[in-house]
Amino acid sequence: MARENWRIYLQAYTASLQAKLEYRVDFLVSVATSMMMQAAALSLLWIVLGAVPMLAGWSPPQVLFLFGMTAICLGGSELFFNQIWTLPQAIVMGDLDRLLTYPVRALPFYLVTRPELHAFGNLLTGAAYVVGSLCWLHAAWYVWLGVPLFWLCGMLTYTSVLVWFASLSFRFIGPQLSSMMIGHNLLQATRYPLSTYPRFVRAVLLFIFPFGTFHYLPASVLFGKGAPLVALAAAPVATIVCLLLAQKAWDRGLKRYESTGS
């Protein structure tokens, strides 16, 4: 049964992606503009590192690595699980009715059925930043090997946090995305080393919304910032906890779902 479910998710995802790729101008515009946005974010780093050589003890290529990891996690989430952004609207419109009749788990099916094309721009730019920074740093082979694992963890952690926030829409009904933008902005905050921030903010980004676990902590270990080796395990652990909490938040929210009258 589980195997059958995976096949259905894959088919649904492929069909949605093909439908999106039909719009070629959209594809090109989306990719170009999301790359522009990543470049815009980098402009502040350019300004900052033009003023001082190091940021909280982190060199330019090390910060660039954090920027890149954030971008590829964002891009991955947008490419595979972007439908979560439409949940508030779907609740208002009663669009979840049909989904609930499908013989598959509702949350993963819902997540994979609306890939976003601008994801490719974030993925490409992020990958360029990561590869560029690791070359610049002459990183060891095991750092290169770790990147895909931490990317996966980051993508799933970010998506889980979005599901937490999106599930609030079952309670506070309205077509707003503001709550999910909090998750998005928190992820973007981790483009800079967490040591830049006050202790309270650092704790929030490591323990409550653990975005710091998939790039800041591994980078602290791998770039010799004095973090213990065990910190490398934080990303997979945080990902599993976040995924479980996301499923719980979704299930609790769904119990409140009342559809719409007409």
């Binding site: 719009y23 101008v25 959209d26 515009v29 989306s30 170009a32 503009t33 999301s34 522009m36 946005m37 470049a39 815009a40 974010a41 402009s43 502040l44 350019w46 300004i47 900052v48 033009g50 003023a51 001082v52 940021l55 909280a56 976003e116 094309l117 601008h118 506070f172 309205g174 707003q176 503001s178 709550s179 933008m181 909090i182 902005n185 928190l186 973007q188 905050a189 800079y192 830049t196 921030y197 006050p198 903010v201």
Partner: protein, 273 residues
């Protein structure tokens, strides 16, 4: 029945639209509060980064910390105040074909969009006031206008900045005639605004190459110019020149937007059924 002049009728219609749009915006209070939290969070990041830099020993930058932080907070406040849903609103109407109905109405389409955009600004201004109040608590006199002239100049400059923001958004939204999603339009403008407006740092801190480009684009006149006038960094003759440059950008971009709309409408297909 007395005849109403077309201009007066237009103005009355736009004012009524502004009031309605403002009421709609204020209707979603939880969203409004969450929006405030989100925005506060977004703008806190560059501030914390700069705080870390200025805390480092032996750092000598062209802008002292006592000026930079009031600048950043006011820039963030102004940027938020002037964020308008033009791309989303117009893009949606183009996509759904509702623009055909809009164009049949006896009011000017661009002005209608401006009235709605100003309603967005009104909502944003209310949301941002607590943060501006906070700046006075944190920095006292440094966050106050430099003098009465600076304040008057800031008011005029902010108004022109709003017009520039609207005009730029109106130009970008013409892309919605050829794309399905509004995302690209919104992000492209947001990226340029973020890079060149001076919202994350005053232009004096920009690397020379970036500063040179920023000074030749309209985006710096939406944030950097009004905030610099407020803080007294632009004064006297330079203030008058800055206002004239802003007015020229606003006028030029508004006219360009109208021309582009006319051009785009030639290629507009609306599905019947």
């Amino acid at each position: 029945m007395s005849a109403v002049s077309p201009w007066r009728g237009e103005l009355r219609a736009q004012a009524a639209l502004f009031v309605r749009a403002a009421r709609t915006n204020f209707a979603y209070k939880p969203a409004m509060l969450l929006g405030m939290a989100t925005v506060g969070l977004g703008y806190a990041v560059p501030m914390l980064v700069w705080k870390q830099i200025y805390a480092q020993p032996r750092v000598h930058l062209p802008v002292p910390a006592s000026q930079l932080f009031p600048y950043l907070l006011l820039a963030a406040a102004l940027n938020f105040c002037s964020s308008m849903g033009v791309e989303w609103r117009v893009g949606q109407r183009i996509r759904l074909g509702l623009i055909a109905t809009d164009l049949l109405r006896p009011v000017d389409f661009q002005l209608t969009q401006l009235a709605q955009a100003l309603a967005d600004v009104w909502l944003n201004t209310v949301m941002v006031l607590p943060f501006v109040g906070l700046s006075y608590l944190l920095w006292g006199r440094a966050a106050l206008p430099h003098d009465a002239v600076a304040f008057a100049g800031f008011c005029a400059s902010s108004l022109l900045a709003l017009l520039i923001q609207f005009a730029v958004a109106f130009i970008f939204v013409q892309t919605a005639f050829i794309t399905l999603s509004n995302y690209g339009i919104f992000v492209a403008r947001a990226a340029l605004q973020l890079t060149f407006s001076g919202v994350s740092a005053p232009l004096a801190l920009f690397p020379p190459l970036l500063r040179g480009v920023a000074q030749r684009l309209p985006f710096c006149h939406t944030i950097y110019t009004p905030v610099s006038i407020y803080l007294g960094s632009i004064s006297g003759r330079a203030l008058v020149e800055a206002l004239a440059i802003q007015a020229a950008w606003a006028l030029g971009l508004l006219v360009l937007g109208r021309a582009l709309l006319r051009l785009s409408l030639r290629y507009l297909d609306i599905q019947g059924g």
